[in-house]
Symmetry: C2
DNA sequence: GTGAAAGCGCTAACAC
DNA sequence: GTGTTAGCGCTTTCAC
């Protein structure tokens, strides 16, 4: 029977008076700290529940100089990739008393700086952020914060403290390897035109590097702006094949456009993987429901989230060299010729 | 040239000493408050930047009794639906100085209570939460918080303060209307078995209600547990059609399983929409890339997020009756017969 | 097992 | 235009 819309939020003092014990005792009960007799404990809990008291973490955080927040800074939420990393983080944080707080940068370094500044002003316990490329300002802020920093997704570079992820260069190399082994030689690439998507860039670099070792050059490339959708994948595939009909393989920078391309090719009756092979990147769940399974690389998103969370929470020690390398896994699917 | 990893985070006092002015003046400059001479302003900003000072919002919030946070409580992030609502919220909050903080309940009322408790303990400026169904405890907490509460997605029920959304009952009715008009009569339903998915339940209720008015009864229904994926849509469609081959329409509780069903049907060479009609719900972007466009209802997710954010931020007054009703829009696509 | 006092880093209110 | 003082609601520390 709590009063409706009290003008002033309840404080510890209100509970303390209702229970007839000191504020300190109430505080102890509510945090399960120190010895409190079962009787007082019960009195306090009853009073708190009856009043509908919700502790004020702002005050608590200031007093204790500890805040149970982990800042998570990611480029996008509309990608399905980062929500999955987040899922891993959240799952692993669940029993630590830590809570993730998410900031989104939209792949903009300026926004990354702003988001970081904002999150750090809450004095979080640790920071998890995507990628290894950050502005000088961002690095300075993180240095000054004096808290654990885990950079996720990518390990090709120098981490501030610790990096957890896969080598995108290696993922690109390995995909090239598989494509070459299957005998494809006229290879096209379709990806985002995003100077800030460093991971896609590194994959492409590794990909071309391996092709070059086999004396093969990328026969065509098509870049696009904005988000990735099935529709965009269809359009880009149509366009690149119209321009370069001799292509026998298309490597997409992500599964979403890859799947769009696949659907379009099947509609056109193109012989896949015989006449044309296809591959994407990420191993998103979506692929399992399509008429044919797109070849791809599992980017280990959930594992990345979990390991990162384990490290910021102290469950797991950060490695000496600062790098936790997970293995990108090639998934053959049905769109690369078997030999 | 900031020192590396200082043992103690910087405070206002450090900036104050470096700039040779009072803490209060520093505070004013950093918040753009009150009159400060251009000269002092410059001195302070330089000092703050050089040191790499990041204000402590914990302390600021406690002192000012104001926190620029909006709690957003949603059931899931793996759905693509809620991230879009979030996108609308975030876009509209962008120029208000308010910041969304997200909590996820996984459709569990117990977790909703826990998440709310946790978020309210940060004393946010307002709360946006999905749905109108909440525990007594949750309602009590929200009442006590004495801050604006906007419930989103659904308007079929009694809002605490304000509800922004569509009527799912109406969305269900209108889809039934369209299906009946097209002449389908042997109608099956496929949806999640989630007692806590009130919106899906209300849609189904409205759907059956309208069918009943036309003397039509649902010919079959299939429920499933867990998340929605293309794969699940394929399996369920196969199963329901094996059991009830006479069905001439399938109404899915969301586009993801609907799209999976559509793909499977096309693979089987089933005549769509002639022999079998299909419809989903949500109007997700995915549908635009499929070989055939699934009929669906636009649930107005982004608009819902925007309006909700406008209301918590005070940009827009909450309506007298507490209900902001958006119109669910029927999208015919290609999977319902034209007449 | 419980309580009293001090203070976390800021900002509101007011003085100058 | 700038400074001083008090205090936000807790927790730390220490006393009993």
């Amino acid at each position: 029977m709590s009063p409706k819309r009290p003008p002033r939020p309840l404080t510890l003092r209100d509970v303390s008076e209702a229970a007839g014990v000191s504020e300190m005792t109430v505080s102890r009960v509510l945090r399960n700290r120190g010895d409190v007799s079962a009787a007082t404990r019960e009195k306090v809990l009853t009073a708190a529940r009856t009043l509908g008291y919700v502790p004020n973490k702002i005050a608590g955080g200031l007093a204790s100089q500890r805040v149970n927040l982990v800042a998570v800074v990611i480029p996008s939420l509309s990608n399905m990739v980062f929500p999955e990393v987040l899922g891993g983080i959240s799952a692993e944080l669940d029993d630590t008393g830590l809570q993730p707080v998410v900031g989104v940068t939209h792949y903009s370094p300026a926004r990354e700086d702003a988001v970081l500044y904002d999150m750090l002003s809450w004095r979080p316990t640790g920071v998890i952020l995507a990628g290894l490329e950050h502005s000088k300002a961002a690095r300075a802020m993180l240095d000054n914060a004096a808290i654990p920093v885990v950079e996720v997704m990518d390990i090709d570079g120098d981490p501030i403290d610790t990096a957890v992820g896969i080598s995108h260069r290696r993922a690109g190399r390995e995909m090239a390897e598989e494509i070459l082994r299957a005998g494809y030689r006229q290879i096209g690439f379709i990806g985002t035109h995003m100077p800030e998507d460093h991971r896609a860039r590194k994959r492409l670099a590794g990909f071309e590097e391996r092709l070059a070792e086999a004396g093969v050059t990328l026969a065509a490339r098509e870049f696009y702006q904005g988000g990735s959708s099935l529709l965009k994948g269809r359009e880009l595939t149509q366009r690149i094949l119209a321009r370069e009909p001799h292509l026998d393989f298309l490597y997409y920078s992500n599964d979403m456009i890859g799947a769009g391309g696949l659907i379009w090719c099947l509609e056109q009756g193109i012989d896949i993987p015989g006449k044309l092979g296809l591959a994407g990147f990420n191993a998103v769940e979506l692929l399992d429901g399509l008429p044919m399974r797109l070849a791809t690389t599992d980017a280990r998103r959930i594992d990345i989230g979990r390991r990162a969370a384990r490290i910021v929470s102290g469950k797991e020690a950060a490695p000496e060299n600062g790098i936790v390398a997970l293995t990108p896994t090639f998934i053959p699917g049905d769109t690369i010729r078997r030999i």
